[in-house]
Subunit: 516 residues, 2 copies
């Protein structure tokens, strides 16, 4: 039976008499400790309301406890019934921040909202924001912006649920190491340069007022810890969401992005690694790359006979560009159709006239100008493809280095989780075709959706998660990719479609036998 | 080896490198935990200074930890050597407040000062102050006055020691239940009426800012808990000072005052009791009673042959009145000389003309007008004596009830501690003569001096004391005198000098055989 991070109780206390003249504090403490089976901390600030609430409630007050650094702590006591007992889970992404309002008593979600991260005004890229943080007032500005977002999101979600921000007694935040540093006003200057030191790995729960959060002032804020500068609390939350840390079976969890982050393990052991995969997989630096927004091409197929291109856009709108899942689909389809060869070179002979020269470089037209929203064609260039192959090769190599570090092979992996928004949209078959993901049975792949958000929610609803996270942190072995000499050699072998060693991709070899 | 409640360490941390890129926080935490052998809490507020102090100190920062509710907590970290590590112990009496400044690193006292409790402006008697606390702003006023005293005393003691109040990282406070309630701003209204409920028995350590103390803001304040409305932290501190809670031998600890408080026990068991003895023993309500200040008669003898009175005053000044120890001496001497009979009645025939009528009541002249400071005689009236006998009888009865409750007799008591300023001045032989204290070998009596202050000091220098106090609290059995039917019967028997049952006072019977 899971127990949420905050609980409300209404004990019936024995009335005072000469033979039982314990103080108000001890009377309530004994009742709560008996019900919770654990000691409960009573901070000084709780004593005045407690002294009023006990007699005024005829010795049956409402008491709210939160699970804090050293166990349960009394956070609210009153003679009349307070508002609902709420928690707020936050996936603090550098691009998007997602908030979930949770009814902790009932254990269900009351609503959720996504907002763009307001810090994007100082740079889409995290590095730009780190540079901005070094300016005078820079760090303070970044902190203020995100705290204000928390406050307005809490207000909006509560209003929609006919509740008040003061009803929120617990906040859990999953974010990468830099995002958490900004939230807490911690200087991130050592994060991005060797040897990549965060200020803190483990953030102890704190009171909301310490960073200016307008929820119940006696509530509690928990940030998922980080394992390193490039292995943040978002990934730990993802591990929790996957459940891999409690399973006998071996799982691999990856988060695909500019940085590729990988965790491999089970309930007994866990290794992790993060490395630069380059921004190509997210569409970032591609000529026609774009975020996964309405108008982005998210699915692409090329008919093997007619070479006709069909695509689907987000929201069904006229296309504006290519997002991550569309790019992987496209490269896989072009490869399967022979439009690019295993080295990534465009093959005009197989392209049915879709390869043209744009700004002096060969490019393959996905959507011609007359079909698009902006009247310009959507295409992929030869150099885009080279970048893509470098990124997918880096991704595969990171996975392979992790696998090798523990002496197993991909076949030994029972579950392969793909986290991030990307994880829900990526087509594993296509990612295998280009050699980005290992050639494993498709049913072992599972998109985790917003794993960080899911992990943050589950911590609110099961306080056991806090110790699970601690336990995972202490158990995880982090491989610093930058200190591994074999990475570059392996990468070179992976800069082919799907790989120089085709025996690693038997299903691809079988399906595309005509190419080899 | 005792360990103080706050410690300063200067660990040598391994410098950061790719193969050890733990955060600043984890790097320092690991070093401190290894040195302390316990986990250390790192509050959010410590992270920014920590991020600066580690590199600036070339990975060898100064760190101060305080022992808080759930173990060690980081309270200060810097790249340069901070001021001395100080603690402040406070005996928060209703009349006098005594402060001790302690060097926690060296383990010695740097100074101490006493101040009158400023709350006396609202009533010498605690009850008057409780009534004042009920008025608008009353409680706030009482709290502000005592907190201001703490702040000015800390400032003065630090100045004298060439230190600053920010150097104080720990404060321990021993006071009775009401004094602690005033200090913390807790309404004392239930303390003084049946069934005598304090707001809180156990006060968890808190940060100084919570009550406006101007010491190091990350420091810690500890108040000794109370066992009940009439059994406060001052007595628990006294138990600690006596060491009775760690001894195999049986001890009795009494604090004599308007309320007589008694603890009986050893390392295995402990019973406690408090009861009204009346203010007579402190000189409070006597015609010529006064506090133990210069000019107070503190010692009295009456020559058994000549009936000549000799006395000694505090400071050797001309007498102004009688303080507690003088009163007990006087009654014992008058009884031994036959000037009062066992029922307390004045015997003019034995008084050599010193019994006169003052304001219509018989009185015995201790110091004639020509010897005194104010030109009025110092005397004791017949009704003073009746009051005294009632008080000493109550005192003895309380001791007896406690003894009986555990089925032992006074002979079984190995150590008899008398706490309070009174305890240092009272002459046990005289107190036995009047039947206030039991007739035990004199060497078993020991004045404890300022036991509350001593206990507060020892908690600063030995953090083990905090758990000893918790343990004593959980083990102590409190006898509510008001619910014991046998008290009044026993009291009646004790309203004689020394007692109706002379077999209880064999040495008195032997010495004063001529009277019986």
């Amino acid at each position: 039976m899971s127990e949420p991070a905050a609980r409300r109780l209404r004990p019936c206390l024995p009335g005072p008499q000469l033979s039982d003249n314990r103080s108000h504090e001890l009377r309530l403490r004994s009742a709560l400790e008996e019900e919770l089976g654990e000691s409960v901390s009573f901070p000084l600030s709780m004593l005045p309301p407690l002294a009023r609430a006990l007699p005024d409630s005829n010795w049956s007050p409402w008491a709210t406890v939160v699970h804090d650094i050293c166990g349960w702590r009394l956070a609210h006591v009153s003679a009349t019934e307070p508002g609902p007992l709420l928690g707020l889970a936050v996936d603090l992404g550098s691009t998007t921040v997602v908030f979930y309002l949770i009814d902790l008593a009932g254990g269900h979600r009351m609503g959720n909202r996504s907002y763009p991260n307001p810090q994007r005004a100082h740079g889409e890229d995290i590095l730009e924001r780190i540079l901005f943080a070094r300016k005078e007032e820079g760090l303070l500005t970044l902190q203020r912006e995100v705290v204000e977002l928390f406050n307005s999101a809490a207000q909006e979600l509560c209003s929609a649920a006919s509740a008040a921000p003061e009803d929120i007694h617990y906040v859990t935040v999953a974010g990468n190491t830099t995002m958490i540093h900004f939230l807490l006003g911690l200087a991130p200057s050592h994060i991005c340069r060797e040897p990549y030191l965060p200020v803190a790995n483990r953030i102890e729960p704190f009171k909301p007022g310490e960073i200016g959060l307008n929820i119940n002032p006696e509530g509690c804020v928990y940030c998922f810890p980080n394992v390193g500068s490039y292995f943040g609390g978002d990934l730990l939350a993802g591990i929790i969401a996957s459940g891999m840390h409690k399973s006998d079976e071996i799982s691999m969890l990856i988060d695909v992005g500019t940085n590729a982050e990988v965790i491999l393990g089970n309930k007994d052991w866990m290794v992790a690694c993060a490395g630069a995969a380059g921004p190509a997989l997210e569409g970032g630096i591609l000529a026609c790359g774009m975020r996964a927004q309405p108008g982005a091409i998210e699915r692409v197929e090329i008919d093997s006979a007619t070479r006709e291109v069909t695509y689907r856009t987000i929201g069904g709108e006229a296309p504006k560009g290519l997002c991550g899942s569309g790019i992987i689909d496209l490269l896989a389809a072009m490869f399967a159709a022979g439009i690019v060869d295993p080295t990534g070179k465009l093959q005009p002979s197989a392209a049915h006239g879709r390869i043209v020269e744009i700004n002096g470089t060969p490019a393959y037209i996905v959507a011609p100008a007359e079909e698009t929203a902006h009247g310009e064609p959507v295409y992929i260039t030869q150099s885009d493809i080279k970048n893509l192959i470098r990124s997918k090769g880096a991704m595969y190599t990171i996975l392979n280095v992790v696998i090798q570090s523990v002496g197993i092979s991909f076949e030994d992996i029972d579950h392969f989780y793909v986290a991030g928004a990307f994880g829900n949209y990526i087509d594993p078959q296509k990612a295998i075709t280009i050699g980005m993901l290992p050639d494993m049975p498709l049913e072992r792949f599972k998109g985790l959706g917003n794993a960080a958000g899911e992990g943050a929610c589950s911590a609110l609803l099961d306080r056991q998660v806090f110790s699970e996270v601690e336990e995972v942190c202490s158990r995880i072995t982090y491989l610093e990719m930058n200190v591994r000499g074999d990475f570059m050699n392996q990468l070179t072998a992976a800069l082919f479609l799907p790989h120089t060693d085709l025996s690693r991709f038997p299903t691809v070899r079988r399906q595309l036998a005509h190419l080899f």
